[in-house]
């Protein structure tokens, strides 16, 4: 097992701001309240032309209010992902107290986000217009907005994030991968402040793809249920402001929590199926624990990837079983995709924020719709029906993606 170097422990990384948009609403506190109240963001999908095929529903973010739209640069308004990402980043920067006064030079600030789609909706508009009117008369703007770099560009410009503008993709683990990269860049002192997380818009591209792989279920999402049949596509934007604890304290920032450990791995097994025993997931979780210098029994809550597909949930359970052993029985596990749908590249950032809020509130959110936990998962303490009050000092959030990408993040209370 790799040991973290001294370098990895010389700086503590804290979260000082968050921005969150999901099917449950716009804004971090709106989302948390809705999740605790048992809100279900999954419903019929709007704006997708199914051309006669059934709409199996999904977790689509609500429309932006006029207040939210105000101040979004015109170029960001033309692509859904860009508009929502901007809105999310604005909340993140504002909650970090950096909107009016930012002590970091532009070259010391950056943004690292994960996505699977970027501006794929604009790509679809561009291709549709090419098909109907010919390439010569298609609009370049739609093509440019297709690029992930163009989706983040309005955020980079508005907040003068000059040090890095990185879009990474590890499929559905992308959001956590970006946080892992950000931790490294801050610890290495390349940058002082990074807005990190993930996003993915609702788009027919992925809906159709997951549907063709028979992974989308028309009924409710039931993670870890004995009769789980599949996922629903969600939409999500989750960003965290990350900086060194010493810098945050110096500028008097409100510290929301600490990012204490990150681990990642590849299954090297199959492009679209997880390793059945969750070997790669085991490694990611163990590396995160090692970096956090925590034992498995010191994890008080797990936000599971929990997509509700038969293979994913089985593989994830086996991995948790191997990592946590007998301790797993006393760790409340939540699977919030049951309320949001699967936000794909956005899931890691979105769920890292929910994990942070669970720590803040000492409350594990409920997993909706799961009626009977799979009997093959006897040690799983899945929180169902109601949120559960439970002391949480350290919590783990997991994301796994196509290509066998696995990522695990541990967040904790930031002690003085």
């Amino acid at each position: 097992m790799p040991q973290p170097t001294e370098h990895q422990h010389q700086d503590r990384i804290v979260v000082t701001g968050t921005g969150l948009i999901t099917a449950l609403g716009v804004g971090t506190e709106v989302n948390w309240s809705a999740l605790l109240a048992g809100g279900d963001g999954v419903g019929p999908l709007h704006g997708i032309d199914f051309k006669g095929a059934p709409d199996k529903g999904g977790g689509q973010a609500p429309g932006l209010s006029l207040d939210s739209l105000a101040g979004i640069p015109p170029r960001a308004r033309r692509e859904r992902a860009a508009a929502y990402l901007f809105c999310c980043a604005r909340e993140c920067v504002h909650s970090a107290g950096l909107e009016q006064s930012n002590p970091y030079a532009p070259a010391r600030r950056g943004m690292i986000v994960g996505t699977t789609l970027g501006g794929m909706n604009s790509g679809g508009v561009f291709l549709e217009s090419c098909r109907k009117r010919g390439v010569g008369r298609a609009r370049f703007g739609e093509m440019r907005r297709w690029q992930p770099s163009a989706v983040m560009r309005p955020v980079l410009d508005a907040f003068a994030l000059a040090g890095a503008g990185i879009t990474t993709t590890t499929a559905c683990a992308s959001g956590l991968s970006s946080i892992g990269l950000a931790m490294m860049m801050i610890r290495s002192r390349r940058l002082d402040l990074i807005i990190a997380g993930g996003y993915d818009p609702m788009c027919v591209y992925t809906y159709a793809g997951f549907n063709s792989l028979m992974l989308v279920d028309g009924e409710a999402i039931r993670p870890f249920d004995a009769e789980r049949k599949g996922l629903k596509i969600g939409e999500g934007y989750g960003l965290l402001a990350l900086e060194r604890r010493t810098d945050a304290l110096r500028r008097g920032a409100r510290i929301l929590g600490e990012v204490v450990g990150y681990g990642e791995s590849s299954d090297a097994h199959h492009l679209t199926r997880p390793h059945p025993d969750g070997q790669g997931a085991v490694r990611a979780m163990r590396i995160a624990l090692t970096e956090a210098r925590l034992r498995p029994d010191q994890i008080d809550h797990i936000n599971a990837h929990g997509t509700a597909t038969p293979n994913n949930d089985s593989s994830e359970y086996r991995a948790m079983e191997r990592v946590f052993g007998a301790h797993l029985r006393r760790i409340p596990v939540s699977a919030v995709k049951s309320a949001l749908g699967h936000a794909l590249g956005g899931a890691g950032g979105v769920e890292a924020i929910f994990t942070l809020l669970a720590i803040r509130s000492d409350t594990a959110p409920a997993t909706l719709h799961t009626r009977c936990v799979d009997s093959a998962m006897p040690d799983l303490d899945l929180v169902t029906d109601q949120p559960r009050a439970h002391p949480i000092r350290h919590a783990m959030s997991n994301s796994f993606g196509f290509g066998g990408s696995n990522a695990s993040l541990i967040l904790g209370v930031c002690d003085e």
């Binding site: 790799p2 370098h7 980079l156 040090g163 159709a208 990408s405």
Partner: protein, 413 residues
Amino acid sequence: MSDDVVITGCGVVSALPSGAAALFDALCDGRCGIVDYEGVSLGETVRTRVGRVCDFDPEEWIADQTLRRMSRFTQFAIAAGRQAACEAGLIEPGPAGRFDEGSPLAERTAVLCGAVAGSPPYVLDYYMPIIERGVVAANPILFGEGVPNAASSHLSMSLGIRGGCQTLLGERTVGLEAIALASEMVRAGRYDVVLAGASEEYHPILTQIHEKIGMHTPREKIDRGCLPFARESAGYLMGEGAAFVVVERASSALRRGAMPLARLCAAGMSTGAGAAAGGFEAFETALGSFLVPSVTERGVDGLKDGLVFSSANGSVLDAAEVGALHGLAASPLTVTSLAGALGECLSMTPVASVITAIQACWHGRCPPTRTTDPSLPEGVSCPQVTTPIDTSSAVIVATGLEGAAAAIHIDVT
């Protein structure tokens, strides 16, 4: 040296012969990989010239049974990644060479692949039927193989790499950004070895799009080729390929008997955001914001020896890039570019430039830039024949739209 981050293996697939040495020889011989191309895209027949990878046999590099399902984007990445891993002594030669099952080093090795376009054919073949006929027309194989991280994932599967495998999406700077992040990962102790690079596959839609934005050479002028720095340049021609390098600590490389090919002295990136001027004028600010501190941070002034591999491609970006470099350099600069020989391969060209720069420093020869009548500031020269050089280091730069910039400084001492 023992604490340095070094490159121990290089691999490249391009319009010229595969492999670092073969590419360098071909470049020094003045060869050009740009060929006539005709294809159909979005109902339009596109006749153009492209730095096309011809005579590529994926079976030479890939033993996987799913090879035929893979896009060329993925196949190129595996071929170039395999060459690099092989040269670094990480795996055995041949299409089946891979890390041993359970190898600790496999878990301490990661993949970082940059891409701008990835595999346009797979995205189009998957997406267009959905646009036309709805969700029922989705092809699950094309969906899986068309995801942007397919190349890095297949590379990790093919070689048995079990550390993280990420794809960086963005401007043509992302290949160098992958190397920069790989260097950070190794320095931070996150990984012992990182296979970093970029892959791009050509499709005629790229020509159509780049024509549309006015950067591609107009079709009536394509016979003039792709002429970096040229006074009369009309734009660039597209290309394709993949290039990867193995990045690791010198101490661990030497311990396992691998020979460091070059030291990664400095690497950096900038978005250009917040620059006083928008558009292309942001390049100078972007480059200057990190290049000056980064070239000196390891005690070596990257621009002192004056050899620069530029991402110039015959477009309006050339002048901004060279102007920014010229403003930063205290001494005369020799600037070269591969775009005239390979075409504009987006994120791949700068990585191929890193590999070529290593060869150039080793062999004491700078390959020529295929161009005519270059327009350069005083003190900046662009060799049009293979030129002897007396330097052990080079700076490789890449610039992208809206001020994005990245640079790598290598030294072979």
